[in-house]
């Protein structure tokens, strides 16, 4: 019985160790190394055949030089700040678009809900890359959107949308919308309709009831949705590189360039470690807050 429990606990921990902790330690090690034109493109490398002395020499060669470098070159902290800004703005925009969709789904008749749910999930059936490329076709100078707007006479000159931050926001909101809609819908759907009636019965208008009852009770879904959008958006690479322009500065793109254009693995690893730290801090704070609420609730 105990062995069985031990096994059940070991599976997720083993998974985490093998696929998260060990790769992270490797990246951390590389971030403390120096660039070198070789294979692998960094030094030192750990050679266990030299024994304890060799290991000590190996440790002595590790330093925080790359992290210092990140603070010295303004490209990096600007890229972090810009990523944070883009991630926060797109999370808010996704919430503004996603909440009404989720609310509409939750209010719709029961027999419609599976269809609507399907409509939200359906884009996942097509490759993510193809969908981003389609946006290029829609947003470009000669794209569908501009052609349509020119045809309606709303504009006389085509708009420049592709290769700007606007295109990045559109791409992010479009791509991450289901991650916002689904958790928000899950909480709204569970809401007892009689709660709204009770609020109305006690003197609220429909709008007041919405703000006083529906919004506070959907808080957990909104928070979950925001995290599901914010976290991947912060390190997003594909959308800014395909839809964004030269002005779009995001850390995911910087990371890619360090790895593949500069082949500077140590600096790229340092960028990745800092990105992870930026993400871990809010997640830990959020978890603590949740736990405190749960404890206070008992």
């Amino acid at each position: 019985m105990n062995l069985r429990r031990l096994f059940l606990i070991l599976v997720p921990y083993g998974w985490l160790v093998a696929l998260f902790l060990i790769p992270f330690l490797i990246v951390l090690k590389i971030s403390l190394s120096d660039i070198q034109l070789s294979i692998p493109p960094y030094t030192p490398t750990l050679d266990l055949s030299e024994g304890w002395e060799g290991f000590k020499a190996f440790l002595a060669k590790l330093d925080l030089e790359n992290f210092v470098f990140l603070t010295e070159d303004e490209l990096y902290w600007k890229a972090y700040l810009s990523s944070l800004r883009i991630a926060i703005i797109s999370t808010v925009m996704t919430l503004l678009v996603g909440f009404p969709i989720a609310y509409g789904m939750a209010q719709s008749p029961d027999e419609w809900r599976p269809t609507l749910m399907m409509a939200v999930i359906l884009p996942f059936w097509t490759s993510f890359l193809i969908r981003v490329y389609s946006w290029m076709g829609i947003l470009s100078q000669e794209g569908f959107l501009n052609q349509f707007l020119l045809w309606t006479g709303l504009i006389s000159e085509p708009l420049t949308i592709l290769n700007t931050n606007v295109a990045v926001y559109i791409g992010i909101v479009y791509t991450y919308l289901p991650f916002m809609v689904l958790p928000v819908y899950a909480t709204l759907e569970k809401l007892d309709a009689s709660l709204m009636e009770a609020a109305e019965d006690l003197g609220c208008s429909r709008t007041q009831a919405f703000w006083l009852v529906t919004i506070p009770l959907s808080k957990s879904g909104v928070i979950a949705g925001c995290f599901l959008v914010f976290i991947p958006t912060l390190g997003e690479f594909v959308i800014p590189s395909l839809l964004g322009g030269s002005e779009t500065l995001m850390i995911g793109k910087v990371l890619w360039e360090e790895f593949f254009s500069n082949r500077d693995w140590p600096v790229a690893s340092a960028v990745a470690v800092v990105l992870l730290l930026i993400l871990v801090i809010p997640i830990v704070l959020f978890q603590r807050n949740e736990q405190r609420q749960r404890e206070a609730g008992q």
Binding site: G203, S205, L217
Partner: protein, 379 residues
Amino acid sequence: MAQNTKSDIFNPWDDPGAEPLIRFSGVTKRFGDFTAIDNLDLNIFEREFFALLGPSGCGKTTLMRMLAGFETPTEGSITLEGVDIVPVPPNKRAVNMMFQSYALFPHLSVADNIAFGLKRSAMSKPDINARLEEMLRLTRLEQFAKRKPHQISGGQRQRVALARSLAKAPKLLLLDEPLGALDKKLRQDTQFELMDIQEKTGTTFVIVTHDQEEAMTVASRVAVMDHGQLIQVATPAEIYELPNSVYVADFIGDVNIIEGNAKPRKGGKVELHWSEGQAPIIAETSRQVTEGDSVSIAVRPEKIAISATKPKSVANAFKGQVLDIAYLGNISTYHVELPGGQVIKAQTANSRRLERRSFTWDDSVWLAFSDTAGVVLTE
């Protein structure tokens, strides 16, 4: 109470001059093809504890939701103190509702739940707090004020829901199956608590229930509904003793319904010929019956005496055999089969200990009831 005189009895419905608080006139409610309420007229008076009783789907909940403002009648009018409330939205009505699920706001504390309606009104903060204290005291929830709904018991949640709906001092309080979620013992205690609170606050209560015992216990008047119509509206005692139809007699409590053909007799009595080879049942009635009418007689089991020998000087006596005994502790119900195959239920109080019970299975017994025990019903 000894000083209670006849005039103290609360019965505004018998006073033709009394102005009802609520008046339904010709109210019909249709949902598509389905008629939930069918051309219904009803008066409810101030300070009444009025029960809507009926099986599920009989329209009682629709009737209540129309009072709360969540449904509008297809036809007819509903007035509150003489004012038509049909166009008034729920948040503007002096009517509050206690929901079946309680519908307590899970993110608010007990105190905030109770004060929710007060905060939506123009009341000042000190007044709100005073009213909140009063409500907490009334429902004995003082020490739970800061808890969240999920941190209190079902009975306490029920009291929070009641306090919240009473806080705004509505002219009319609607209770939708208020005790449905409580276990039987707690339900009985709570029924008395409800009556107590109703008396203290003087609010008019309308309760919806499918539990006839509950309706009988709490209500000043009971309306028995079926298929969107009121079958009988009367005091619990009248409903029980003088049902106006087989439906009501059968719905409320245990009853023997015996069908047969009527033959009027002198002195307001009627003979019911109900079975070949059996003497007719004799019953008093004020109803006009003509010979050969098909009528039913409803006799409550507790009004039928059971004995080993033939009782003397009783209007109706029949011999039969004990088929089954349902022992309920305080009472026993005997199912007695007559020679014609009919089964009659008779009830006796178990004033003796069980082992000294007079009858057992397959015993030959006599059933007897007076000519006033049964009610003659023509529909």
